[in-house]
């Protein structure tokens, strides 16, 4: 099945997949995707619901067999998950534990199974702020506590690669900030993190690299910075006199740019360099601008633009 595919893996790729496909009946949940995640980076894995993120993650972890395609994780083929999973931590589609067991006992089940030292259990519970609730049953935990236990479980093997599916679900703002700091801290030690999240502002803040999916296909794979800088910036101008806005639109259009009024400001689709000329032309027309800024689209705006069906 997968053996006929040759994976072109660069030496420093923690994850590399080529032409990976998962078909359910007539539908391709994942459709011939190829991407790489460089070692030591935090890579955001984004896409709308049903884009194929979780299916891809499950294929990377040996839980779902690819229909076609191949790949490597930490240099080992996907067809032999036993060779790399000992160095991989994962939180897949929310935390899943035994409700009647305590948080500590749940981690010990996994520590025993993975042959990890039990000392790590309490260290990790402390790290995620659950040590004082270690003996409480999992079913009594709040959603945020369950999520933090899931992150602790993912960290059990002292992983080289951490795969986190929506790790900030259910966390309060402080918890989200903690996860962000934790991921940054881990990446600082050379750990590779593949993190999927709906909170694109979070991904933008932490991810060096990005893989963007839609309808099971890769829309973008590469550095986050490269994606954002490739997007067209907007020059936003305001005037204290609302009657000037129509004239500002006219000036922008005369310069060959699209423009429109948004929230009592004029938004001009143009490079940052246009701002100087725009200011000068407005001044020459007798308009004093009260503010003039250049804005690049956020990851969220870029995401919606790229993933929009239109």
């Amino acid at each position: 099945m997968c053996n006929s595919y040759k994976v072109l893996t660069s030496q420093n790729a923690a994850i590399s997949v080529t032409d990976l496909t998962k078909r359910y009946g007539e539908r391709n949940a994942v459709d011939h995707i190829s991407f790489e995640v460089p070692r030591g980076t935090i890579c955001g894995f984004v896409g709308p619901n049903g884009a194929g993120k979780t299916t891809t993650i499950r294929m990377l972890l040996g839980l779902v067999k690819p229909t076609t395609g191949a790949g490597t994780v930490l240099g080992e083929p996907l067809t032999h998950p036993e060779r790399f999973l000992g160095k991989v931590g994962a939180l897949i589609e929310g935390p899943a534990f035994y409700p009647a067991l305590s948080g500590r006992e749940n981690l010990k089940v996994l520590a025993t199974l993975g042959n990890f030292p039990h000392d790590r259990v309490d260290q990790l519970l402390d790290q995620v702020g659950l040590l004082d609730r270690a003996t409480s049953k999992f079913k009594t935990y709040s959603l945020g506590m369950k999520q933090r236990l899931g992150i602790a479980a993912a960290l059990l093997p002292s992983p080289e690669l951490l795969i986190l599916d929506e790790p900030t679900n259910g966390l309060d703002p402080a918890g989200i900030q903690e996860v962000r700091e934790l991921l940054g801290h881990l990446a600082g030690y050379g750990l590779t993190v593949l993190v999927s999240s709906h909170l694109l502002s979070e991904i933008e803040a932490i991810a060096d690299d990005l893989v963007m999916l839609r309808h099971g296909k890769v829309l973008f794979s590469g550095q986050t910075k490269a994606l954002l800088t490739a997007q067209q910036s907007t020059v936003i101008a305001s005037s204290s006199n609302p009657h000037d806005l129509a004239r500002l639109i006219e000036i922008a259009k005369n310069s060959g740019h699209q423009a429109q009024i948004v929230n009592e400001s004029v938004h001009v689709i143009a490079d940052a360099e246009f701002a100087t000329n725009f200011n000068k032309a407005a001044f020459e027309s007798g308009i004093i601008l009260s503010s003039l800024v250049t804005a690049r689209p956020t990851l969220e705006e870029t995401f919606f633009e790229l993933t929009s069906d239109n």
């Binding site: 499950r58 972890l61 899943a96 534990f97 067991l101 006992e105 010990k108 996994l110 025993t112």
Partner: protein, 263 residues
């Protein structure tokens, strides 16, 4: 394998499951063994399915273990429930994906879980034997049962075979539970379907269709320790049960190895 076994025992030893199961085993065995002696002179019978077991039968070398052997069916049902629940709950909790990330060799994981549950079943059978023998020894004097042959070397060797047969029967029931747990991925469905088949459908079929008992898995498994009211031999029960378990177990194991884990 040892770490899988130990990991599974962390789940099996939780008090509600472990102590709850032992309480059920002790209670049911105690009831069956007590009624065997207390209803000795009852016309409605004192054994399985209203069978009358006389003082003379109980005075035989295996008399001390009749109550224990009669408990095998209920011990089997308990094992079936535990095996099915412990297997299927990994799907309903979504914990199977955690287990497979930590141990991706699926058949090894399954074998480790199975052995852990067999050891759990062994403990329940041991408790059942102790309770039944204790009650039988106590009530024999009260009900004037001659126990001269109970404490002989032949009686001791009979205990070994009775214990082995009860354990085999219980493991058979448990294997059915585990197989259904793997196939149906739901504790409630697995247990209800198994119990409905074994306790209702098979009993109706056995009572209405001549000669069908020897082909029914529940009848075969329950007849390993007690050859009462059946028209087939011990070896037929053993081979028949083993055949059913091998075929269904192999099918479930292959399915477990190949099936995508999506929940």
């Amino acid at each position: 394998m040892i770490r899988i076994f130990k990991s599974e025992w962390r789940k099996l030893r939780r008090p509600t499951l472990f102590l709850g199961t032992l309480a059920a085993v002790i209670g049911l065995t105690g009831l069956i063994s007590s009624l065997l002696f207390l209803l000795l002179d009852s016309e409605r019978g004192n054994g399985r399915e209203g069978m009358i077991i006389t003082r003379e039968t109980l005075a035989l070398p295996n008399g001390l273990y009749v109550g224990f052997a009669n408990s095998a069916g209920l011990l089997g049902v308990i094992a079936l429930c535990v095996f099915a629940a412990q297997t299927a709950i990994e799907y309903t909790n979504g914990t199977l994906r955690n287990l497979l990330v930590r141990e991706p060799r699926r058949l090894l994981l399954l074998a480790g879980k199975y052995l852990a549950m067999i050891s759990f079943a062994l403990i329940t059978v041991c408790f059942s034997a102790i309770v039944s023998v204790g009650i039988s020894a106590s009530l024999a004097n009260v009900k004037d049962v001659n126990t001269d042959l109970w404490y002989t070397s032949s009686a001791l060797s009979l205990f070994g075979s009775t214990f082995g047969n009860v354990l085999l029967s219980v493991i058979s029931y448990g294997t059915v539970g585990m197989t259904l747990g793997l196939l149906l991925r739901s504790p409630i469905s697995s247990i209800s379907i198994a119990l409905a088949w074994i306790l209702v459908v098979e009993n109706i079929l056995s009572a209405t269709v001549d000669g069908i008992s020897k082909w029914l898995p529940g009848q075969l498994m329950s007849s390993i320790p007690v050859q009462f009211g059946v028209d087939f031999s011990y070896s037929w029960a053993l081979i028949g049960s083993a055949s059913y378990l091998l075929i269904s177990g192999a099918a479930a194991a292959i399915l477990f190895k190949r099936r995508d884990v999506v929940n």
